[in-house]
Each structure stands twice: as structure tokens, then as C-alpha cells.
């Protein structure tokens, strides 16, 4: 979705995460057993930033656990670094204001897109893979890994891997990030008493919210990467003007 509102949502979300940099699974927080902890341990030269995932500890000093805030040279204990959070300094109440404001924009924009998708025919025409595309999925994966980008007629359509990625994002990650966020609201939990158990309980919902958000972030990063390697200028121009220069087929140019 639109990066202008998802960026503040994610970055202020990290501020909120930093207030309790542990993730748990279940109805409540089993304080001794978070499955993810971004924390600091005592080292010989002061605090060392570490990240523990399911019992395994990684040294993430300088980025996760302990990092420098802004331009200062002093190391500070904080889960995500100040360059990744809004606001930069650890400030929970302000992070919440940013998060909920942009979350509303994100949800409204998302619903509008979903309605467009369903009623414009875009879903059936462009996003659902055809039977033929499913059959050739192996070849698509191979071409993709070799960075061979489609040419000619094929360049005008989404390829099957793109289709799958988009569908996972639209019908998997986006609903999950929104439902997980709503499940953390004690008021919305009471709307239909107990619905939060569908997600495994409130702390599981917090975990899913976080993982889905990172899934979306990963999708955006890969997407930007793909746009760049497959011809950034052509793509950007087509998004604004609607004209896309179709790369000529190799066999035609070979003659």
C-alpha cells in the first residue's frame, strides 16, 4: 500500500515495541519465556546489545539492543535504533499518537483499495494466476532467480510469482496486521467477547501483528529492488503517465 502512510505506521510501531521489547505467545505474557527478546547484557566494556530468538542469542550490538541515538556518540540501551523509530527518542505516548493516526489512514486506504480490487475486475483480470501460469510455475521461478525479466507481451502482465506475492500481501499479511492490531485493543476485544482467541490470545496477536508488519516491510524492500533491477525509469514513468515501453523480444532483436 501507499508508503507515505505505511512508513510512519511501521516506524512508530517500533517505538511502541521498544516500550516492551519482548514477544510472547498465548493469552498473557509469560515473563520468563518470551520467544523474542531484544535486550542488553553486561559486557566488559558496558552494555552489549543482543537479540534472543527461541533461546538462541545473537550479538546485534550497535543496531538492536544497544545503539547510538541521533548524532550522539554515547551508546543507549534501546531495542530498535533511533533511525528506525518515530519519534527518534524513546517516547511511547508520542509513538502511539503517530501510530494510531496513520493506522486509520492505512485502514481507510486499504478498504478503498479492496473495494476497487473487487469491483473493477482487476482481481480476476490481473491478479489471479491462470491455469496455464500455474502449470509453468517451475520455469517462472528459474527465470526469476536468474534475473531474466519478461519481454514482449509477457512484460505487460504480472508474472505468476508476482501474482502469488500480491495475493499473499493483500489477503494474508494486510488483514493479519490489521486484525492483530485490533486484537490488542481491550475495547475491541470486548466487542465480540473472546474473538481474540482466534489469533491465539492477545499476546499471540501482538506477535502476529509484528511478524506481519515485518513481512510487509520485506515485501516492500523486495518490490523496490525488483523495480530497480528491471528498469526503474520505465516503471516510474509508467506509474505516472500510463505509458510503459515494452522491452522487445530477444529473438526479434537477434536477427
Amino acid at each position: 500500500m501507499d508508503t507515505t502512510e505505511s512508513t510512519p505506521v511501521v516506524m512508530s510501531g517500533l517505538t511502541i515495541f521498544n516500550a516492551r521489547p519482548n514477544l510472547y505467545w498465548g493469552k498473557d505474557s509469560s515473563f520468563g519465556h518470551p520467544w523474542l527478546a531484544i535486550t542488553a547484557v553486561n559486557g566488559s566494556n558496558g552494555a552489549v546489545g543482543v537479540t534472543r530468538i527461541a533461546g538462541y542469542e545473537f550479538n546485534t550490538h550497535g543496531v538492536l539492543g544497544v545503539s547510538k541515538v541521533g548524532d550522539s556518540n554515547a551508546y543507549t540501551v534501546r531495542a530498535f535504533p533511533s533511525w528506525a523509530t518515530i519519534p527518534g527518542p524513546q517516547w511511547l505516548s508520542m509513538g502511539r499518537h503517530w501510530h494510531f493516526f496513520f493506522a486509520w489512514l492505512f485502514v481507510i486506504n486499504g478498504l478503498a483499495y479492496l473495494l476497487y480490487l473487487l469491483f473493477s475486475g482487476h482481481l480476476k483480470r490481473d491478479l489471479l494466476p491462470t491455469r496455464d501460469e500455474w502449470r509453468h510455475i517451475g520455469a517462472s521461478i528459474k527465470e526469476h532467480l536468474l534475473f531474466r525479466h519478461p519481454t514482449g507481451e509477457a512484460a505487460k502482465r504480472y508474472n505468476v510469482l508476482q501474482n502469488i506475492a500480491y495475493l499473499v500481501v493483500i489477503f494474508g499479511l494486510l488483514p493479519l496486521v490489521i486484525l492483530g492490531g485490533m486484537a490488542m485493543s481491550p475495547s475491541l476485544d470486548a466487542t465480540v467477547t473472546g474473538w481474540v482467541d482466534w489469533l491465539g490470545g492477545r499476546q499471540s496477536a501482538r506477535t502476529l501483528h509484528f511478524l506481519a508488519a515485518f513481512g510487509l516491510l520485506l515485501f516492500v524492500l523486495i518490490h523496490v529492488f525488483e523495480v530497480i533491477v528491471s528498469g526503474a525509469w520505465n516503471h516510474l514513468r509508467s506509474m505516472i503517465t500510463g505509458y510503459y515501453v515494452v522491452p522487445a523480444d530477444k529473438k526479434e532483436t537477434a536477427t
Binding site: 498473557d28 505474557s29 505516548s93 508520542m94 499518537h97 493516526f101 481491550p186 475491541l188 466487542t191
Partner: protein, 258 residues
């Protein structure tokens, strides 16, 4: 070696990093701009209206079983009030404690702990959700606030219930005792109780002895501990920072259902 393309790339990378830094410092500046922050905070009215629209007024918070109770109920905020009058109450085993109820009511009243314990009670195993992100499940027993309000008969002008607490949050000389407030929907909600027991024992000091509010559809900071007085008001304007609570005066949302 420095080919034109790596040079260009370096400039591009530098420009991107500079743009990122500028955007971030702009966000930090905006966070200190009062009208911008008020604009952001307006989302809480949208959230509250949306929640009220989709939830029944008496929609119940989830209740759990004995098996779900956390072995140790985490405490946060004040764990041991330093205030002299509170220490006196502790020394007297809360025998001298009286919960005052006044403000916009017909008949102000005060109740001892024994009187509160003799009133009708509600027991509920609920999940406490802290604004920091953690949750803990505990079993609470207390007197429904609706029952107390029926004793004092709120005036039609009363719009909010304010909980005044014993614990000073700061060491300075000005009044920094904790306080919180809820609207009448939450005040009359069946799960809104003034709890005197936690997990079948008298409420420990770190969890708000002798009496704490349970506002089950909102975050932990609404659940005022060490409640000394309940005041009915029509606005928060004349109360401290005017935002309806200790944390609210420091920038947190008054509506903590999210």
C-alpha cells in the same frame, strides 16, 4: 578506482541518507509542535467513536478460568507509596481508611473497608493489558462502582467519574498524586469494580491496597490504584493539567481502549 557510475551511486546513496535524516528530524520537530500533535491526537476521538459504534454499551471483557491466572501478577507504576498519610493507613491495617465519594452527587458519603466488603460483590478473572504491551491475568473481587454510585445518587450534570489516589508520582512539593477518570458508560459497566482482593487474598500494596479500580475495557493506566476518593464532575478543566489523568497530563490518550 572511481568510475563515474560508482561516483554517481555514492552521491545517490548520500542524497538518500540525507533525505532520510531530514525526514526523521522533521518528524521529531513535528512531535514538538502543539497543533500538529493535537491533530494526531484527534485520532483518539475517532477510535473512541468507532469502538462505541461497534460495541454494545455493556459489551463484556473476556473472562478466564482459574487455570489461566498468572503465577505472579506483575505490578507497575507505584509499588509502595511514600506518602505519610498512606503509611499511617498501612500501620493501622487500613482500619482508618474511608473511601469518600463526592462532587456532583446528591448525598456525598464515605465507606470503610469493612462496609465496602459487606456490600454486593463481583468476582472476575480478567486480563490486564499494560500500555507498554504486556498482559497478565488475575482474579479480582470487589464492589461494583454502579452500586456505590446508586448510594450517592449522581446529579444529572455529572459526566465523568474521577478516581483520586494516595500515591504521589513525583518527589516535588506540588500535588502529583495519581488520578484517573472514566465516562459514565464505563462507570456503570458491570465489570467496573473497586477491587479489594486479588487472587483470593487481600490486595497487595504493590497492586494498589486497599482499593483499586478495574476498568476492564481499557489499558492498565486507567485502573487507578490506592483509590482514596471518587469525585463526580462535569469536566476536567479545573483538575490539574485538565486532561483527566496523571498520564493524560503527560501526553497519553484519555481514551485508553486501544
Amino acid at each position: 578506482m572511481n568510475s563515474p557510475s560508482t561516483g554517481r551511486r555514492r552521491i545517490l546513496r548520500g542524497a538518500l541518507a540525507a533525505a532520510g535524516t531530514m525526514l526523521l528530524s522533521a518528524c521529531d520537530k513535528l512531535s514538538h509542535n502543539e497543533s500538529f500533535v493535537n491533530f494526531l491526537k484527534s485520532a483518539q476521538h475517532l477510535s473512541r467513536s468507532a469502538h462505541k459504534a461497534v460495541s454494545a454499551r455493556k459489551a463484556m471483557a473476556q473472562e478466564f478460568t482459574e487455570a489461566d491466572i498468572a503465577p505472579h501478577f506483575r505490578s507497575n507504576g507505584t509499588l509502595m507509596p511514600r506518602d505519610e498519610h498512606y503509611r499511617d493507613l498501612v500501620r493501622g491495617m487500613f482500619m482508618d481508611y474511608k473511601l469518600k465519594i463526592d462532587g456532583l452527587v446528591e448525598t456525598p458519603a464515605a465507606f470503610s473497608l469493612a462496609e465496602l466488603r459487606a456490600m454486593p460483590s463481583r468476582t472476575q478473572i480478567t486480563r490486564h493489558d499494560c500500555v507498554e504491551g504486556w498482559s497478565a491475568i488475575g482474579k479480582w473481587k470487589g464492589v461494583p462502582l454502579a452500586h456505590l454510585l446508586a448510594q450517592v445518587k449522581p446529579l444529572p450534570s455529572a459526566k465523568y467519574v474521577v478516581f483520586r489516589c494516595a500515591d504521589s508520582m513525583d518527589s516535588g512539593s506540588s500535588d502529583s498524586t495519581y488520578y484517573e477518570s472514566v465516562d459514565l458508560d464505563d462507570a456503570y459497566h458491570p465489570q467496573t469494580i473497586l477491587a479489594y482482593d486479588l487472587n483470593d487474598a487481600a490486595l497487595p500494596m504493590s497492586n494498589g491496597a486497599p482499593l483499586r479500580a478495574r476498568i476492564e475495557r481499557q489499558l492498565g493506566y486507567k485502573h487507578a490504584k490506592y483509590v482514596m476518593r471518587i469525585e463526580l464532575v462535569d469536566s476536567f478543566d479545573k483538575i490539574r493539567g485538565g486532561n483527566g489523568g496523571y498520564w493524560e497530563d503527560l501526553g497519553y490518550e484519555w481514551y485508553a481502549g486501544i
